[in-house]
């Protein structure tokens, strides 16, 4: 069973189509990154999944339960971490978690035990007596994560959790998310920092103007196998870097793209790795002292921009989702 299943989801705010026919499935125990520009429809989709908004059309299910028809049941399964949330005045970190634990129905020893576990996991114990509205952004995000974890949710929906965090806090948050993923929780996370999503996520969903434009795993995107017009290689030589350019001009199916300090960047007009091996063999045969020859990995930002560019050019960029097989809870 899918942890999240969204089918033909639409959400209109008057004339504005915030979400426009979104369909996807995320298997149990996987980590899925949700990527899109501001206003693309990420937060609206996530809020609908968290039962905080409702679809104009279509359906959304969390662990097989419809978010519109059985919102109370869905709320017991889901942990929601919004992009920003205010903290209370005159309330300590411990009191904050105590309030939410009470609100979730924990009583007496169970409550104290659960708060201990969450504070330990999120490293909030040293901050227990600090007023919650006096915390740094990183500490606040840890507190938010702690709150979302209090009911031990099966699915964690996180909207831009790393926004505004310094590098150290970002590393800490990434570590916590990795641990949660290892524990088998399904995590649906949006972020603008695509490189981090690539490291954490089993799959990535790209949304643009309320429509899903890509659903696939990060490695495929990085390798650029989706891209049209060949594969990029970085070539470095021992000697004059100009030699790479001069050699490329004379080769069929090879295009020289730009010079680099020790060589250059070339595009080989094929997806077949054996053809790339042939090109390398010809280089060596022709006397180029190749010190490095590797397939260039696009970063995810490039991949995202590439997909948007292809959309602008009128291509249908949506690739069938090669959904990752879950390692847990299946």
């Amino acid at each position: 069973m899918s942890a999240l299943k969204v089918n033909n989801l639409h959400r209109y705010f008057g004339a504005l189509q915030a979400v426009n026919g979104v369909t996807f499935e995320i298997p149990n125990g996987s980590v899925c990154g949700f990527v899109g520009a501001n206003g693309a429809g990420k937060t609206t989709t996530m809020r609908i999944l968290a039962t905080l908004d409702y679809p104009t059309l279509g359906s959304a299910e969390v662990c097989g339960i419809n978010v519109v028809h059985q919102p109370s049941e869905v709320r017991r399964l889901i942990g929601w971490m919004p992009d920003h949330f205010g903290n209370y005045e005159h309330m300590t970190v411990l009191e904050y978690l105590d309030f939410y634990a009470r609100a979730l129905g924990y009583k007496g020893k169970d409550r104290r035990k659960r708060i201990d576990e969450v504070m330990d996991f999120t490293d909030l114990i040293p901050l227990a007596d600090r007023f919650s509205n006096k915390l740094s952004k990183g500490m606040t995000q840890r507190l938010g994560l702690g709150r979302a974890l209090l009911q031990d949710p099966q699915v964690l929906v996180m909207d831009e959790p790393a926004a505004g965090l310094d590098p150290k806090a970002r590393v800490e948050l990434k570590h916590l998310i990795r641990v949660l993923a290892q524990e088998g929780k399904t995590i649906f996370i949006s972020s603008h920092i695509l490189s981090e999503l690539g490291e954490m996520c089993d799959s990535l969903l790209f949304i643009n103007n309320g429509r899903i434009v890509h659903h696939g795993d990060a490695e495929t995107l990085k390798r650029g196998s989706d891209s049209v017009g060949g594969v990029l290689y970085d070539v470095q030589v021992d000697g004059d870097p100009q030699l790479v350019s001069d050699w490329s001009v004379l080769q069929p199916n090879v295009e020289f793209l730009e010079s680099r300090k020790l060589g250059g960047r070339i595009r080989i007009d094929t997806q077949d790795p054996t053809k790339a091996a042939d090109v390398l063999a010809r280089m060596i045969k022709d006397g180029l002292r190749v010190t490095e020859f590797h397939r260039e990995q696009r970063n995810l930002e490039d991949a995202f921009i590439d997909i948007l560019g292809r959309l602008d050019a009128g291509e249908n960029a949506l690739t069938p989702p090669p959904l990752p097989q879950s390692s847990n809870n299946e």
Binding site: D53, V68, P82, N87, E89, L94, D98, R102, A103
Partner: protein, 484 residues
């Protein structure tokens, strides 16, 4: 590092109350009010003790105690509720609360109870001063205790109003509330105390001494009225923060309709004083109409389902009880028409003994239309769902301001014919009524026509909205037909 766990509040208390008390008791406003009240009362009592030779010192001390207690619990404490829910909405924390097992009602109720608990704390701290004041003599124990309790109950209702309206994110509402809302409330409270039963009492103290049937009935009506008003406003706050799948309008509207239908036979039986009867009708109908006219929830399948599965009758009833603006219009018109039916039928029944004449009929129709007038404008000018209450109140206040200007102009001019240019607003007929030359029958006919046009306009707009939502009903019907 071990955590020192919290043991300050029992598990049996509502989580919301615990949170609000933890925060509220540390709030600077509460600490300032609490300390200044204590310091002031202590100083005042010592001063009174030093001047205890005077005969009237006891009543002077009482007056001062009650004045300062009134400022604390009738002004400062209710005003603390203004940001109660809006701060949660702005801070994005309301979403996180809704995702817990706290219902929207428990959130609103907890906020209200917390402020009321703090008011109770203030009340408990002035009791020692009242006991000391007893020794200065001239004390009417029952009257002063009743006054104290009445003030506390009024504070509870005022706090319910501010907490309820605080669910609206509109800055207009929160600005209008202290500027216009409190004076209007004070006027309402004064009007309630001045109805015939209370007017028969010889003095202020007699009203609270409860030694006559009229004063006892008056107090009971007052308590009932503020309880209903407070409950309605808390329910409004609940609707404003509740998820779309919850229908809080249902209970609120059913209570109002039931109360109106219970009133009707009571009025015909003649067992209730007719002025009191009219007052009760207004108290029940006006908040219910105001709230129903400003509903902003969308229609979602979960809300429709219980009605749709009961067939055509259920669907028809649903259009009066869904928490949407369109059904709010239909329900408020229904409540308003029941109210009008009560007024007019009783007037005709008791015509010989009633002091009311056609002038009063015009007043009733003008106020009835005045309530729907802002909604009619709103239907076409301001469609923003989130600001609906704010826009409605702004237009209502604007209408009353216009009425004030028209009344002043008509009194300063010999000819009130210009007032007919403003006849599109039913409240303008109140200004016309002050013109002695005006033909009351013509005014009655005209205000009835303006009211009818407003209702037709609103019903048409509501039906258009209902038609737009038909797809939701169809979706529910299809899901009901599918086998489980």
């Amino acid at each position: 590092m071990p955590i020192t766990h919290l043991t300050d509040f029992s598990d049996k208390l509502s989580p919301m109350l615990v949170k609000e008390l933890r925060q509220g008791l540390r709030a600077k406003t509460f600490i300032a009010v609490f300390l200044s009240l204590q310091v002031f009362l202590a100083v005042m009592l010592f001063s009174a003790g030093a001047a205890s030779t005077s005969d009237h010192v006891g009543s002077v001390v009482s007056g001062i105690i009650f004045t300062f207690f009134a400022i604390a619990v009738l002004l400062i404490q209710p005003l603390r509720g203004i940001g109660a829910l809006s701060s949660e909405v702005k801070g994005n924390t309301i979403d996180m609360m809704v995702l817990t097992r706290l219902s929207a009602w428990r959130i609103v109720f907890g906020k209200w109870v917390a402020i009321v608990s703090q008011s109770a704390l203030l009340l408990s701290t002035i009791i020692p001063y009242l006991i000391l004041r007893y020794f200065f003599g001239g004390m009417n124990l029952v009257a002063e205790l009743t006054l104290l309790i009445s003030m506390f109950l009024t504070s509870m209702a005022l706090t319910a109003i501010t907490v309820g309206l605080s669910g609206c994110s509109s800055i207009i509402v929160r600005a209008l509330l202290p500027i216009f809302g409190l004076p209007v409330l004070m006027w309402t409270v004064a009007a309630m105390f001045l109805f015939r039963g209370f007017r028969s009492s010889s003095g202020f103290t007699d009203i609270f001494a409860l030694d006559s049937t009229n004063s006892r009935i008056g107090m009971a009506v007052y308590v009932g009225a503020i309880t209903y008003l407070g409950g309605s406003m808390l329910s409004l706050g609940t609707s404003l923060i509740a998820p779309a799948a919850e229908n809080h309008a249902l209970v609120r509207r059913l209570v109002a309709l039931a109360a109106m239908l219970i009133l009707l036979p009571l009025g015909y039986s003649g067992k209730i004083d007719y002025e009191l009867f009219y007052l009760l009708t207004i108290i029940i109908a006006v908040p219910a109409i105001l709230i129903a006219l400003t509903e902003s929830a969308p229609l979602v399948a979960t809300v429709c389902k219980p009605f749709v599965k009961r067939g055509i009758l259920g669907k028809s009833i649903g259009w009066f009880l869904y928490p949407t603006w369109a059904s709010g219009i239909l329900c408020s018109i229904l409540i308003g028409l029941i109210g009008l039916a009560i007024f007019f039928s009783l007037e005709m029944l008791n015509g010989s003994v009633s002091p009311w004449d056609r002038g009063e009929f015009i007043v009733i129709l003008a106020i009835f239309g005045g309530l729907f007038f802002p909604a009619a404008w709103q239907a076409f000018l301001f469609r923003g769902e989130g600001q609906r209450i704010g826009h409605y109140l702004l237009l209502l206040v604007g209408s009353f301001v216009m009425l004030g200007i028209l009344t002043a102009l008509s009194e300063s001019m010999d000819n009130g014919l210009f007032l007919w240019f403003f006849a599109w607003n039913p409240l303008a007929f109140l200004a016309m009524l002050s013109d002695h030359k005006a033909d009351k029958e013509v005014l009655f006919g005209a205000v009835a026509i303006v009211d009818a046009l407003l209702l037709i306009l609103l019903i048409t707009r509501a039906l258009i909205d209902i038609r737009k939502s038909a797809s939701v009903i169809r979706e529910v019907e299809i899901s009901l037909k599918k086998p489980e």
